[in-house]
């Protein structure tokens, strides 16, 4: 049901990595998580698991991600 209520931009983004082999996708996800980079696919998957449509487009998600990154501390 929730898929029907998805915004068009989020649908496009959800299908973007369809052609990438799963191993490469996993590897990229690991690197993204280690360096603290935004991972919109993970967000979409989370929304799917939680059973609600994504509230943010990829652009909005990236904006919010960088904003919260700016509040983090880097050690000396």
């Amino acid at each position: 049901m929730w898929r029907a209520r998805m915004r068009s931009e989020t649908k496009t983004a959800a299908g973007r990595h369809g052609g990438t082999p799963p191993v490469v996708q996993r590897l990229l996800r690991i690197v993204r998580r280690i360096i603290g980079a935004p991972d919109y696919q993970a967000y979409l998957e989370h929304c799917g698991t939680a059973g609600h449509p994504p509230r943010l487009t990829e652009r909005e998600y990236v904006d919010q991600f960088f904003e919260s990154k700016g509040k983090g501390v880097r050690c000396c």
Binding site: A42, E58, S68
Partner: protein, 678 residues
């Protein structure tokens, strides 16, 4: 059978570690191979993690995988995300590792390789890793709350406010010291300055790439950034050799100071995606790669340590790099790598929001800090592979060198001007004398190790390129810390002023952004400037101040940890946090007292001010003011932590004597949906 094998295995590791320590401790006069130092460190980490880390996890904290973590309960696919422990280990390590574990051991090498190494290895197992693990555990049980919030709730509101003020002041000193390292590395170095200057347009390009052109494509942007960075590194050599361009990128310390101040302000005001985030990605990639390559290079060539185990400066206290005896100054010079209060901010920041299972906290919190200590050991090796004469010539200001020349020649730590000239030419610099701050000598050590490794592998020895690569590597992530630290300081100031003027707390209101950024930058910029114009080198006064403040922040964290353990009903185990706390308070208060009241003008701020009182030098008045300001800062740090310790002691007494009901502010227990052991 399995138990017997375990006994043999861990018995063997312990014996090997003890033997390695024996070789290090008993060597007098002969050259020791770095392999012994690495063996001693790795065996100690392994035993510490296996036994002490496990004891903390099971007996002291009672980690429970049936309990859902904040990442599981508050999962939002962005900040709160259950993450694989190996991935989170990398993320946590990238956040805690900075310039501190590299520079501190290099400076402490003036006492010889043994004291610093012992503190790095023993301090981390019993103190630093315990602090990180304890705060991570406490935050994990409190929905990822920050250190300040936990101090406010678990100790008392005054403690929370005190902790927040302490963090703000410490941040200002920290940023000044880190900026000073960059200034000392880049002054009169056109190659280094050109390379670092290029990182600004590269970061802006990356920011535009991953924000506007291809949103979120950090990998692509970082790959392009890395290629451009290498081009800038190679181009730096050409620029330095060009008569006009070389002169354009050759500047004095004060000039680079003003550039740093301007840069810090702009970086704090600009949106995160434009400069901070891309620079952060670039430096994270570079940091992880370089540390890995350095570890491999050291293992390949296993260089001999040319610095003795102990130098005469350990007991005399008249060391030319910084003044003061081994106790307490070795323990505040090496902060990050052994124990660092700043880690408590990371352990109560993003990491607790990403832990999938409680038991992962041991690997990430305790294990992550062990890896940071290992980085410190590698920095110690890099510094100690240098000829001691070269090491002291590089890290000592001309004024301090003149004072210490007799002690240096008695110890045999001499180097001819021709040899220093030849070394500078090999590294592509005009001079390497009096390049204090630790970064240039670490860069020379790293360059020699890298060059040695590439020659073993059949490559060319490109000393100058490796040297400037090492400088770029250090400066890049120091600048990242300056970006992030100025911004976090700005947020804190906005929050504090926001209590009396709510509009000021709006982080997107530009007058507030500009005013608060200006105040924070002026704060660290002022200390930076005084460090640059200080004839004794700045590092001599500012690095101990940074060490004291960082260790006092660790004392704040351990106060909070001890309070929570007592309130949890685990008072019999409170010593795990109270022990390192007692040691840190002893060390930092002794160091703070000596920095203020010592009669030696090289050591005591007030004695230095008194010595300058009758001087006719034009800068005397300003230097006296700096000494008094440093005195005020040191006393302020000591007073703030004393307040926190007294309020914590009162809280412990009230709870233990049952005059007060212990209330822990843990999040309610929710059963995890993840199968235990899955």
């Amino acid at each position: 059978m399995k138990r017997l094998a375990s006994v043999f295995l861990w018995g063997g590791v312990s014996v090997l570690g003890a033997a390695a320590f024996g070789v290090l401790a008993l060597s007098r006069g002969e050259t020791v191979n770095a392999a012994w130092l690495l063996t001693a460190a790795v065996c100690t980490y392994a035993v510490g993690y296996r036994f002490y880390g496990r004891f903390l996890a099971t007996r002291v904290f009672g980690l429970d995988d049936r309990r859902a973590t904040p990442a599981e309960r508050c999962n939002n696919g962005r900040d709160f995300v259950p993450t694989n422990k190996w991935v989170l280990y990398g993320h946590h390590f990238a956040a805690i590792a900075g310039a501190g574990p590299l520079v501190g051991p290099v400076l402490a090498a003036q006492f010889g390789f043994l004291p610093g190494t012992l503190w790095l290895v023993i301090g981390v197992v019993l103190g630093g890793a315990v602090q990180d693990f304890t705060i991570l555990f406490c935050s994990l049980r409190r929905n990822g709350k920050s250190l300040g919030q936990m101090a406010k709730e678990e100790v008392n509101p005054a403690a929370g406010a005190t902790a927040m003020l302490a963090v703000l002041f410490i941040m200002i000193i920290l940023l000044a010291v880190l900026a000073l390292i960059v200034v000392n590395a880049l002054k009169a170095s056109p190659w280094g300055l050109f390379t670092i200057a290029c990182t600004i347009p590269i970061a802006l390009l990356m920011g535009w790439w991953m924000k506007s052109w291809r949103p979120g494509r950090v990998g692509e942007a970082s790959a392009v950034g890395a290629i451009l960075l290498i081009a800038a590194l190679v181009g730096g050599g050409v620029v330095a050799g060009h008569p006009t361009l070389g002169a354009a990128f050759t500047h004095t310390g004060p000039a680079i100071t003003w550039m740093m101040i301007g840069y810090g302000f702009v970086a704090s005001v600009l949106p995160v995606w434009m400069l901070l985030a891309p620079r952060d990605y670039l430096s994270t990639f570079l940091k992880i790669t370089t540390i890995f390559v350095l570890a491999v290079a050291i293992l390949v060539i296993l260089p001999p340590l040319r610095m003795p185990a102990l130098t005469p400066f350990a007991s005399g206290g008249e060391g030319p790099v910084f003044a003061g005896k081994l106790f307490p100054f070795a323990f505040i010079t090496i902060a990050c790598g052994a124990i660092s209060g700043f880690h408590a901010l990371v352990s109560s920041g993003t990491t607790p929001k990403m832990i999938a299972r409680e038991s992962d906290a041991r690997f990430i919190g305790y294990g992550g800090m062990l890896m940071e200590s290992f980085v410190g050991v590698m920095a110690m090796i890099a510094a100690c592979t240098l000829d001691p004469g070269v090491y002291f010539a590089m890290n000592t200001t001309p004024a301090a060198l003149a004072q210490a020349s007799q002690a240096l020649s008695q110890a045999g730590f001499v180097v001819s001007p021709d040899a220093m000239h030849a070394l500078a030419a090999r590294m592509g610099e005009t001079t390497l004398v009096a390049r204090s701050g630790g970064a240039p000598s670490l860069a020379v050590g790293m360059a020699q190790i890298f060059a040695g490794a590439t020659s073993v592998l059949g490559g060319k020895t490109l000393d100058a390129l490796w040297y400037h690569f090492a400088i770029m590597f250090e400066a890049l992530f120091i600048l990242t810390t300056i970006d992030a630290g100025t911004r976090v300081g700005r947020f804190m100031l906005q929050e504090i002023v926001g209590h009396v003027w709510p509009r000021f707390a709006e982080t997107s209101w530009y007058p507030s952004v500009i005013a608060s950024s200006a105040v924070i930058v002026a704060g660290w910029g002022y200390f930076l400037y005084q460090g640059v114009v200080d004839p004794l080198g700045g590092i001599n006064s500012l690095w101990p101040l940074f060490g004291i403040s960082n260790q006092l922040l660790a004392a704040v964290a351990l106060c909070v940890g001890t309070t929570i353990l007592i309130k949890m009903g685990h008072a019999r185990f409170a010593w795990v946090a109270a022990g390192p706390l007692a040691w840190l308070v002893t060390v930092t208060m002794t160091a703070g007292w000596q920095k203020v009241f010592s009669a030696d003008p090289r050591l005591g701020f007030l004695a230095h001010a008194a010595a300058l009182a009758g001087s006719t030098t034009p800068d005397a008045g300003r230097l006296i003011f700096y000494d008094r300001l440093n005195t005020f800062m040191a006393l302020l740090f000591m007073a703030v932590v004393t307040v926190l310790i007294v309020t914590s002691l009162r809280e412990w007494w009230l709870v233990l004597s049952r005059r007060k009901v212990a209330v822990v502010h843990e999040a309610p227990y929710v059963e995890s949906a993840y199968a235990v052991g899955d």
